[in-house]
Symmetry: C2
Subunit: 173 residues, 2 copies
């Protein structure tokens, strides 16, 4: 709180004029950080003219490698901030799933995929991404994580009736 107040050039007590608690500050930081990541994922898709597979690869890679501020990430994984962490995972899923669903629908229009449930498939995929692969909830080894990504690729290729190997971007380095 002191550091933020100093940077903003106000007294520490003045912070409480804007935020009632420390949690509200963290919540606002998380909102801004993830809001930015989601906005840039949306812009990336709007600006890309590739086919559905290349757009999916772009979107998921961009999401997974998004730089979340390291200090913020450590704070989010502290037990006392679990409520904010959980809320943020939920928000990411809700905000990112329509963007992902649109790419799945594009693939269906192109004939690369068959998908009767683009929105729900997007949500199931993002559940694995945001929950199962969250290093703050589980501590998988690199090998276990690799297997989960291979299984996810296998499941999606089958579910979307896509060419085998088209989701290899999920696990290939």
């Amino acid at each position: 709180m002191s550091e933020i107040a100093k940077k903003a050039g106000i007294a520490k007590g003045g912070m409480y004029y804007y935020f009632r608690t420390k949690e509200e500050v963290l919540d606002a930081l998380v909102e801004r950080q993830y809001g930015g990541i989601i906005a840039s994922c949306g812009a990336l898709m709007a600006g890309s003219h590739g086919d559905a597979i290349s757009k999916l690869a772009l979107l998921l890679r961009s999401y997974r490698t998004a730089q979340v501020d390291a200090t913020l990430d450590v704070s989010l994984h502290m037990p006392q901030n679990a409520a904010i962490h959980q809320k943020s995972l939920g928000r990411i899923l809700v905000a990112l799933s329509p963007i992902l669903a649109e790419v799945l629908a594009q693939g269906a229009a192109e004939g690369t995929f068959e998908c009767a449930y683009p929105q729900e498939y997007a949500e199931i995929l993002l559940s694995a991404f945001t929950f199962l692969l969250d290093p703050g909830i589980f501590s998988w080894t690199r090998e276990q994580q690799g297997l989960k990504l291979r299984a996810l690729a296998d499941l999606l290729e089958a579910g979307l009736r896509a060419k085998p190997g088209s989701f290899a971007f999920l696990y290939a380095q």
Copy 2:
């Protein structure tokens, strides 16, 4: 704390001999409750001699309708208990996935399924069940929830190369 101490026939202060904080009490209650649910899911599978599909239906229905004590459930969904809630979702996934994976492997042995990643498929399925369908994290309508279950059935049938409709038990009433 007072009520528990009264029931146990000890002074409220005596509680702190066993538990350092209120959170530790809640954690122990959650552990016992979910430990019980997982043990009964395991016993149900060990005692069932059906085929893989009927065992899956039994397992998932038994998990979804397991009576979690209502007061405990309300407590778990309070923001201050989010850390315990999150830990419990993670624990359920870790404990239930090998039981589910064994049923998937049975289906592969019977020729009902093809599955190269039973453990990982089980984890992805449980991510949707424990995270995406958690009413404390998301507030889906009954209709939205139904669509998610239909999509999950569609995805699993394709991924496991199972007969269309074999996962209808997920959404049929």
